[in-house]
Amino acid sequence: MRNFLPHLKGQPSSASNGSSETISSLISAWFGRQNWFVYATGPLILLFVWWIAYFFTLVDKSLLPSPFATLFDTGVNIATGDVMNDFWFTFVRVFYSFAIAAIIGVPLGIVLGASDRVYRSVEFIIDFFRSTPATAMFPLFLLLFGLGDFSKIAVAAFAALLVVVFNVAYGVMNARQTRILAAKSMGASRMQIFVDVIFFETLPQTFIGLRTAVSMALVVIIVAEMFIGATDGLGHRIIDAQISYNLTDMYGSILVTGAMGYGLNVCFLVLEKYVIHWSGK
């Protein structure tokens, strides 16, 4: 009982001590505060389950390679720079689509969320497209943006944008009004309330949205690389490996994709711990 929910009542994060810390020291502080073991658990569980499935042939061995063979192969592919090349192309596409989604989505979400009427009136569009698979929209995006990189980025940005807008608007609608009233009483303009209060008030929810969005952007980019013509990127690598029955490469590429997703999420996690020191207070 004494140890129940320890993090909910622990000291506030060290972030409150000053903003002069460098990001790198933040990251190490963040990882250091809990021992490395915690962060190793996830990958280890994954490997372990995989290994069990492989070793006890729970799944046909010819279709599920050994985790170690996969890791080894992936290591080799990384060392030869082969995977890194695809990684980089995918990363750049994800970066652009996410950036577009975030830069447009956060302000848009705040403005839409600020008025119930306005949000309700566009909610159809947001929910509609959130529920429509990007793959079904490919023809339209191909039509609008052609076959190049831009149409992949556009479709991923669109999917991620919806997520950001949805989360931010929701955050605004669930925001507590006391602080908004406080700012209003101090004569803040509508714009100032948006920027100085609602933005921050919504920030925890915004981060959830951004994390969902960055994973979404990655997923859509991978799918686009798989299905709308691409000659590089991890998605292209996955489908090539899938089709040519290069199983270790296929699972290895999926691993690399997932790792990129986790890495992007960790960036936000670190940023979030640093920025939103007040959450739950």
Binding site: P139, L147, D240, Y245
Partner: protein
Amino acid sequence: EKYEEVTSAWLPIMQTTAYYVALEEGLFEKACIKVNSNKMQSPNHIIDALVSGRADFGPPGAAAGIAMIAESKFPGTFKVFGLQGGGIKINLINDGLIVQDGSDIKSFADLKGKTIGHVPGIQWRTITKHLVRAAGLDPDKDVKLIDLAVPQQIPAVLGGSVDATLSLEPVGSIAAYTDGVTRAVINPVAQTIADPFYSGAAVLTTKFIAERPETARKIVEIIDEATALAMADFEKYKSIIPKYTAIRDTQLDLLAKPYLRGFKDINETDLNSYQSFVDVFVSEKVLSEPMDVRTKMLSLSDFGGN
């Protein structure tokens, strides 16, 4: 009477027509077989299902090339008992080069500096490369190859995202009747690799053959019977195709008859054609070692003794 349960995984394409006919004519029921029929959208999913034992047989239309790539990875998994495709001499269409109306692309040789889309995956990428190379161009430098999902092919040509596509039936036929796009070359693959050309195959898993040889034999017989029916009167069976594929009733007139070869029909020409196809995989370095397709064909002795 006790029904035997058999699981199939098939693609909704023209090459699968014999299977549709078998289902429509109730041939499986007559043989006391209950088919657990699974429609797949990707040939790879079919091969996956077969390799993992989730399915017992792949009706006609399973990707012939991919089956051999899989066979090289997991030797002794499949036996081929039918081939499907098209040919110039027999005048049956399998594939085509689709371009915009009025395009100056008349053949693969005109593709220099252009973009061509093909069915996603290693099989059609290899074929396309081979065709480009055969036309005297370097597929890595002169032409841009793009994996393009089947539904995206006509829109991509129409919208100008690609200059041409190498498309399988029925896309080619639909394109031929669609404003704005046209079929520049019919059966380009057969022209280059082998005539007739087979991109589809019917396969049984060796596991299925070993465990239930009698049932496997019945399957082969049923498909053979249905193949004969379909080839004999394609016009009659055309009308059932919309039930199984994306083709609509209104598009029936466009449909090109596929060239279907049952187990009984397969002859040396067919085997040579298939072998040429597989050799392309070797020459394009998708398969690292030569493979003899004859060893992968079903033989009656596989059913045990008699």
